[in-house]
Amino acid sequence: MPAGFVTYIHMQNRAFAERVPISYNSRPFFLCGTTMSTTATQAARRHVVRFAGDSGDGIQLQGAQFTNASALAGHDLATLPDFPAEIRAPQGTRYGVSAFQIQFGGDRITTPGDAPEVLIAFNPAALVVNLPHLEPGATIIVDGNAFTAQRLKRADLDSNPLEDGRLDAFRVHAIDVSDLTLEAVKPHGLGAKDSGRCKNFWVLGLVLWMFDQPREPTRRWINRRFAGDESLRDANLAALDAGHAYGETMEIDGTLAQKHVPEAPLAAAEYRTITGAEALALGLVAAGELADIELMFCSYPITPASSLLHHLTGLEEAGVATFQAEDEIAAVCSAIGASFAGKLGVTSSSGPGVALKTEALGLAVATELPLVVVNSQRAGPSTGMPTKTEQSDLYQAVYGRNGDTPIPVVAARSPADTFDTAIEAVRIALRHMTPVFLLTDGYIANASELWPLPDFDSYAAIDTARPAPGSQGAVFERNPATQARVWAAPGDAGYIHRVGGIEKDAQSGNISYDAANHQSMTDLRAKKLAQVADYMPDQTLEQGVMGGLAVVAWGSTYGTIYQAVKDALAEGYSVAHIHLRHINPLPSNLGELLTEFEAVLVPELNTGQLATVLRDRLLVDAIQLNQVNGQPFAVADVKAAIAAHAPRRMQEVNRG
């Protein structure tokens, strides 16, 4: 079908109702260890699909279902949910558009993709808001029933985009989804409202057909979700099948062709999909098991950190208890209280809430108690943009406290990586008796990827500084290799002591205003941070070659940078990708490693915070690439920056 061709399929019955979102339990996903080189056939090996509509259209649910289907079909994938800030924004408005993007296919996938090749738009607003993301030739599927005069007005449109020519560059299928859904579910006797709600499964059925993905996981989900209501269950199943069958008809009449997506060359393992919040919850619980310590997770709701609280509350069978405190100060304080009492306190928030915790973090440093502080970053300052991602709390983590108050900082790079990052954070906290910052962000928390299940037996146990039962000793005798003091807790009869935030005598722990003592305590705290590096592995390259441009990054930009560097390498640029898990302290070999490059490029979703840290700690002069529009980097933008600063490795490379 040529671009610009609009298929109209009308149905008589225009009555439909808006649907209300089904509460959606995000499902995990997988990560693939095999790298495929970029080839001309890549376009066919991977696809980018974006679902968009009102939050009431069940967009995130469709995305999650499609993700599952794709994973079970053996594809690698990465997803990007993009929610509006409002819970139930007025229907049909531009600012109420909710979207879900997935890149999947038979290749290694590390990003949700820059430009969707298929856009599913449930209403005019969802269409126009997402048009700028599309490249010419993209396929657009819209619900034709939604393009009424009233709804065009809701979307601030003076003319109908289906008719005014602005879609000429695309392949547009305007399908009367609402009518077709009503038709399909009619036998199940639902009211108009419930019938309308089945629309999302109709569309999902069609999109699953388009990419030859299995309907089975969605069928199972529907059977479970609507177990208590036969007619709803059957209607949704019918809608799913009807959408699928519709695709077959379209193929027969030649308007749309089904695409067969090859399986990804996955290494031998068991895989699942997983979101960042889920993997982080699992990682914390796993760390507790490795340390044989119970976890007290104390938090106060805030977007996008709340999902961690929800997931951990669902894992309370695994040695963790969650406590919803009255505010973030109480959250960190109760976590510190738990650590004082011999459990591991963990607290979690986003930037504004972490700001509130700051004073208490000083107390944890001064009293030498273990604590993990998770920051799911979002766009700031102040309330900023709660549902949009950013990496702008690095200064807060590294520098943001009164006094000389060092705190180790680790950062997760992807949804699945939060599992290992959480374990590392707990390991540092318990090994050194210190609070530790774990940085993640809104993108990682909500996004999902394919994850090869880790071999948990291969994880080393985590030692703690808890005293042997019945023993007796000096609480503030420190391990010279870690500066950890004894983690004595109430109940330990041999270690009764008092401790507090007033400077304490290095040996006895009693209050001390002695000048030399404060100097030595300050030195000790600095040494503790420095010694964290003694246990860190050497920084390595993710990929690439020495000598030219080093792209140094941290956090959720990983997938994008990985792809950009891979593409640039294939085009002959001399470039390498270095991705930091440890930011404070930096890996001991990093400074030396960077001296072997001509230039250092630091892409970040902030105004240059890691660049500052690198200058500060290593005197490295970094070239900055910064973006703060609430969205992840596009691969193309990072690639352009690499091209601007990296030398060519092979002159003969084909520039086409």
Binding site: T273, E317, I329, A330, H497, V499
Partner: protein, 330 residues
């Protein structure tokens, strides 16, 4: 374990309050209460915020945590939830507990966490050198209110009652007869025990409680609340509190005058929140209510919490990892 005496609960640390500070006698009462209850030092924790009052944990030979300004109730909640077996005390001041930490105090009390909260009310910020506090009476002259404070103060016991406290008591710092017993009653209470101690800051708010606690006035200015006993006071034990049903308020009457007999005097019912409300509000010329003003039974939060959240590790991570849709490519 050999029985410990009050002295055994003292630490080797030099007590650093100003000479004559009311905190000394409170500390003494705490030592005595611990000895009286046979508290196990290893399983007892004193958590405090910041202020002169909050230094107390350093002087008690148990576990102690001197934390940050206003946050002791939150930290103590974490301690208690992590280990409900512990006997957890909170020491706070009128500034620490009702100014910067008002929110945490509110939530600890309304949750009914099993804590013994001692609020040392000297109606002043002692540690920061004498600024007026949220309990200072209107007109309090201080470095930050040289012309006299104009803020409406809050009464700690009324605050606690408003938060839904299940135990409220009041006592004067130097009352060595009553204070240890009140502390023990709070310690025995399951849930938050809130004890307001009227404390004399001899340096910045000297004798602010004189109208209530001086030898001359005490008998007439205080009424000791005892469950089941008539609310009688006065040097000659001839005064009492009578409920005026028309105004729904308490009035002080003299037994033997105007036909008043002991039968007219209100009998204290510590479980009745309405009586507590009337008692905590009493101000001159009525006597100030002392002793256990309110006590009722309600499940402690930490018990309910740990009944639901056992912290047991019943499921292993290896099994959790495999939950969800799995793709087997082995």
């Amino acid at each position: 374990m050999a029985e410990l005496t009050a002295k055994d609960y003292a630490t080797d640390q030099e007590v650093r309050w100003c000479p004559g500070c009311g905190d000394y006698s409170i500390l003494k009462a705490v030592h005595r209460a611990l000895a009286e209850s046979g508290a196990d030092p290893a399983n007892t924790v004193f958590v405090s915020g910041i202020g002169c009052s909050s230094r107390l944990p350093y002087y008690v030979e148990t576990y102690g945590f001197h934390t940050i300004h206003g946050r002791a109730p939150a930290i103590a909640t974490g301690v208690k939830l992590a280990n409900p077996e512990l006997d957890v005390w909170v020491v706070t001041g009128d500034g620490d507990g009702l100014s910067i930490g008002g929110n945490h105090l509110l939530h600890a009390i309304r949750r009914n966490v099993d804590l013994n909260i001692l609020l040392f009310n000297n109606e002043i910020y002692g540690l920061t050198k004498g600024q007026y506090s949220p309990t200072s009476r209107i007109g309090t002259a201080s470095p930050s209110s040289p012309g006299g404070s104009i803020d409406q103060p809050i009464d700690p016991a009324q605050f606690a009652l408003g938060c839904g406290a299940t135990f409220i008591a009041r006592c004067v710092d130097i009352d060595q007869k009553a204070l240890p017993g009140i502390l023990n009653a709070g310690q025995a209470h399951e849930g938050t025990a809130f004890v307001e101690i009227l404390q004399n800051c001899i340096v910045y708010n000297k004798d602010v409680w004189d109208d209530v606690s001086s030898k001359k006035t005490a008998a007439d200015a205080q009424v000791l609340c005892e469950h089941g006993a008539p609310l009688i006071f006065g040097k000659a034990r001839d005064k009492g509190l009578r409920l005026n049903p028309r105004t729904l308020s308490l009035e002080a009457v003299t037994i033997g005058e105007d036909g008043v007999t002991e039968a007219d005097i209100l009998v204290h019912d510590e479980t009745n929140p309405m009586i507590a409300e009337l008692l905590v509000r009493m101000r001159d010329p009525l006597p100030t209510a002392m002793g256990v003003i309110h006590r009722r039974t309600q499940p402690a939060f930490d018990q309910a919490y740990r009944a639901r959240k056992t912290l047991e590790r019943k499921t292993r991570v290896k099994d959790l990892l495999r939950r969800g849709n799995l793709l087997d490519r082995r």
